[in-house]
Symmetry: C2
Subunit: 166 residues, 2 copies
């Protein structure tokens, strides 16, 4: 039923490989497998899909699909598109690396980085309380080092985005 295409064996094989590509890829960056699966199916689909299509295709629950799509949208990896004039929302994969990486950095990296920087700031304030000269010097060095790391990260992320943006 519905407007599904005959899934010719070859295409099915290819879809499966693309899927496995993303299942893996997403693991690498520490996101749930189902995110990779949903994105993979959309990436491999010539036309937009509904949530129900994804549920059928992947055999996942409605809840998973809904949450997965939500996350993918906030990452900017998937977008809603006008497609048919019905009640459903149709999705397609956003395939620009720049956007994918940007979303990942914004949602998954920046917040950690920020909280780390806040921790560092507090640390600096504690330093002077250490009595022992030598020990204080040691901690100063370490904390300065953490500060440099943090600074590097702040420098690298925009460069990375620019580089991937072409």
């Amino acid at each position: 039923m519905s407007a599904q295409e005959k899934p010719s064996t070859e295409v099915a094989v290819i879809d499966a490989r693309i899927l496995s590509f993303f299942q893996d890829g997403v693991r690498m960056i520490g996101l749930p497998k189902s995110l990779g699966e949903i994105y993979g199916v959309l990436f491999a689909s010539p036309k937009p899909m509904t949530m129900q299509d994804l549920i059928d295709r992947l055999g996942i629950s409605k809840g998973s699909a809904s949450q997965g799509l939500k996350m993918l949208r906030t990452l900017g990896a998937v977008r809603e598109v006008e497609y048919r004039k019905d009640r459903k929302t149709y999705f397609e994969a956003d395939v620009e690396l720049k956007k994918l990486v940007g979303g990942f950095i914004r949602e998954e990296i920046r917040p950690h980085l920020k909280s780390g920087q806040e921790k560092l700031a507090k640390l600096e304030l504690e330093l002077h309380k250490i009595e022992d000269r030598e020990l204080r010097a040691f901690y100063e060095e370490r904390i300065k080092r953490l500060g440099r790391w943090s600074g590097k990260a702040n420098l690298v992320l925009p460069l990375l985005q620019k580089f991937l943006g072409e």
Copy 2:
């Protein structure tokens, strides 16, 4: 007992903050929390520590400590040092960002990337089997795109390392 220093309150507070810094940081890159804890303790310690020291300090099991140190060693984040002439092995944190990032890339990124590239290679071989012209064109575009992503990653990683290496 043992050669432990008086953990003056201030130092304890600072150590705790450093620990929490790494607990978080390690989560960001998808490594187990205990790795961050172990590394954090070593990072915050002016002198080398034994496995037993870590067990006492963190209240973790011998197994955890052993496995954690193993992983940290293969990541190049921790190294064994000569310290006292006893049977124990003493560890200290390697604090060069370049080395940390390098180890992470080598152990956690490269293998995924490689397996992804192998999948891509197989994919290319399947493409010609698709009968439908239009559909084949679509898949060709997508797979070429994946290839470009992969290529970018291969380009970026060395640059990243160089940049952090200074």
